[in-house]
Amino acid sequence: MNRHNLGLIAIAVVLVVISLIMGGRQEGAEFAGADGQAMAAVATLQPDYQPWFSPIWQPPSGEVEGLLFALQAALGTGLLGYYLGLRRGQSQSRARQPDRVDAGD
């Protein structure tokens, strides 16, 4: 991880923190999901619209939903980290290869 990348990640973190602070000052800020707000807007545009299909399975509680979202993020991060770690190790061992050939002679 070079300095360049650490800087980019730092900017991303700062953006989240600024969002939390600025967003918290907005009137009626609850950090609700924008998707949910859009579905609520549907109800104001067409009050008599009834969703004609409902999810076949729903997480039984917010906790279980949190678990599944965390699982989704963990699976993704795990695979991504595995890939990057593998390639990093491979490129490092490639870089060391000439030394090893010399040492073997």
Binding site: N5, L15, Q46, G76, T77, R87
Partner: protein, 228 residues
């Protein structure tokens, strides 16, 4: 950008499904061919899908006092071309529809169209376009990922506007209403998605040169850039 289950009238749901389906089939074919012709890129393909998996799971706070999430679809589009993302994005959306009641089966086609088709095509087009103008790679990647993310949410607003026109101001008025909900919230998150995509591309440039060369992901690349 997840339109909830049942929140598009049946006709709209059917049309978006019909529109999305050929893209997903083409994406599956392309992914299949990739794995046969260039099996050494298989793991990178999985990692690109994983990136979308992570980013679409993280609901981030925004300056508007609402939360939303990035899509992560730009990375795979930049590396593999936009069509494979139709398949990878569908897998992500299906996971969320079935296990999280986030999005839905009836709205899957519409959600695939916005996140897994239009977003990736916009990202891919921007990368190619800006590279032709000799923009630095990091700038290209940032713009591609960020604006691909914004495009996804613009499409969602359009889909909702078409289904639910404002009684007074019609589809246009309704679109302004929905884009007003999505765009300000999404903007900082799209910037974050752009930044993180640049981070991953930087790492790939360092450690995965073989795959990048194989895929010819960045045609304007000079040998000098690769070495640095």
């Amino acid at each position: 950008m997840h339109i909830a289950e049942g929140f598009l009238p049946p006709l709209h749901a059917a049309v978006w499904t019909a529109v999305a389906l050929p893209f997903v089939i083409a994406g599956a074919r392309r992914a299949n061919r990739l794995m046969q012709d260039q099996p050494q890129t298989k793991l990178l393909l999985a990692a690109s899908g994983a990136f979308a998996f992570v980013l679409s799971a993280l609901k981030l706070p925004s300056v508007t006092g609402s939360c939303s999430h990035a899509t992560g679809a730009g990375l795979g589009a930049i590396l593999f071309g936009p069509s494979v993302m139709a398949l990878l994005g569908t897998i992500v959306l299906l996971f969320q529809a079935l296990l999280l009641a986030h999005g839905g089966l009836t709205t899957l086609g519409a959600n695939v169209f916005s996140m897994a088709i239009v977003g990736p095509w916009v990202a891919y087009g921007l990368l190619r376009g800006t590279q032709r103008l000799h923009a630095p790679l990091a700038v290209s990647v940032f713009l591609a990922a960020m604006l691909g993310d914004m495009a996804t949410y613009a499409v969602t607003a359009g889909q909702l506007a078409l289904a639910f026109p404002d009684p007074a101001s019609g589809v246009a008025g309704s679109f302004i209403k929905f884009i007003g909900i999505f765009a300000p919230t999404q903007l900082p998150l799209a910037v974050i998605e752009g930044l993180l995509t640049v981070v991953i591309v930087n790492l790939l440039q360092q450690y995965s040169q073989n795959e990048l060369r194989e895929l010819q992901a960045f045609p304007q690349w000079s040998a000098v850039e690769i070495r640095s």
